[in-house]
Symmetry: C2
Subunit: 229 residues, 2 copies
Amino acid sequence: MKVISTHCISCKNRADIFSGLNDTELSKVNDARVGMHYSHGEIIFKQGSPCHDFVCVTSGLVKCFVEGEDDKKIIIGFVRPVEYIFAPGAYIDKRHHFTAIACEETTVCLVATDVFQELVRSNHEFANEFIAKISNQTIDLCRQLTNLTQKQIPGRVAETLLRLSQIVYKKNPFTSCLSRQDMADMCGMTKESVVRALKTFKDEGIITVDGNQIHLLNVPMLETISKIG
Amino acid sequence: MKVISTHCISCKNRADIFSGLNDTELSKVNDARVGMHYSHGEIIFKQGSPCHDFVCVTSGLVKCFVEGEDDKKIIIGFVRPVEYIFAPGAYIDKRHHFTAIACEETTVCLVATDVFQELVRSNHEFANEFIAKISNQTIDLCRQLTNLTQKQIPGRVAETLLRLSQIVYKKNPFTSCLSRQDMADMCGMTKESVVRALKTFKDEGIITVDGNQIHLLNVPMLETISKIG
DNA sequence: CTTCAACGTTGATATAAATCAACGGTCTTA
DNA sequence: TAAGACCGTTGATTTATATCAACGTTGAAG
């Protein structure tokens, strides 16, 4: 078990939103904080369950997805250190509206939602950062809505590859711990379709695939494919 | 041209979020306010354009949709009086991320985003209401994401009918000014598919359709169809 | 009044993508 | 070591849905 920072004030894995807080405020956060460790595949919180805490990811990788009927999932995003997961139910019905699962060994701090809400009330800068965070999530969901409903398979897979490389892993040959099913859940399709699309891209020399390492050889081409759908 | 209230303090069409403001704050909003009138089909703001104002709908009906390539749209929601339209770009890139169009004769007040942001900073209650509003939008987008990607046509159309009746028009036989294409844009399908689905529902005695008036005869059945996809 | 464009509807056809099935590989677990 | 489960991959088949085409209606514009 990794040792996480003993106090928020000195924590180096602190999410940006806490930067504007003074020591008194940080102490309040620290008192409410619960450090947790999750192994690969473990559920951090589940859609529909009561929402008591915001989750700040201090190491590892977390995937968030909405669940429909019949075990179908749509991955709405990944959260890396040092970021926190905004739970939109905190202000509405105190329920989680998506599920969060650790993709690899992951440590997080849970902070009670009412501590967050108190900070939103008392610290304007914090409130602004908080709203900016939610806004980004909204913008992202809008983008996903068009991507998943208006593009066909090659476009969606291209988009997903670019996302993984540029936003999630921020590397070009990137090594992912995601299964084909995970990628399918990002694209809203079956894993077989993902495999076929990857194979096509590989045959066309646009990417190379070596196990879990994917190298995007022709990014402009992928961007074009993603754009024209 | 209808006369809108002359001052926010005495306005009867004020969105709920302004309820917690004192007269000084309301005056500030009033000074920044621009009343506008739009006819059926007119664009209030367009995706990608600079975002300077929040739009408060005082009469009529507004549809909001994200635009993809190739003229395809997904309607993400309708805004009725007395509600305002949250533009997520206001806190991020000062751009609109969806388009808003008047569905019928519509009056709105435009309020500069920085006035909103100032209120968020100075009034905690306002900030809370504001965040709750965005949270609801996020929850709704999550729901749409699963609906549009995981259900097939009958399920999506049933869902749309229930939405129109229960949330948008709040009536059971309801008369809608929406075209079949609009309904298709709500469901992420073609207008032909909508027509066929409505015909099937009609033949099965689940609904009646008379021009733009739709009567949901068997709501539980529609809910089942919506659920099982 | 006429013309044209957009809408609603229906049927026939094409096609994208899911499903089904099979197999080898890897990892876990008994 | 062996058994079972899951993953990745590929091919064959089915199916849901889009596309294409045609036509009557309505409403707006010239």
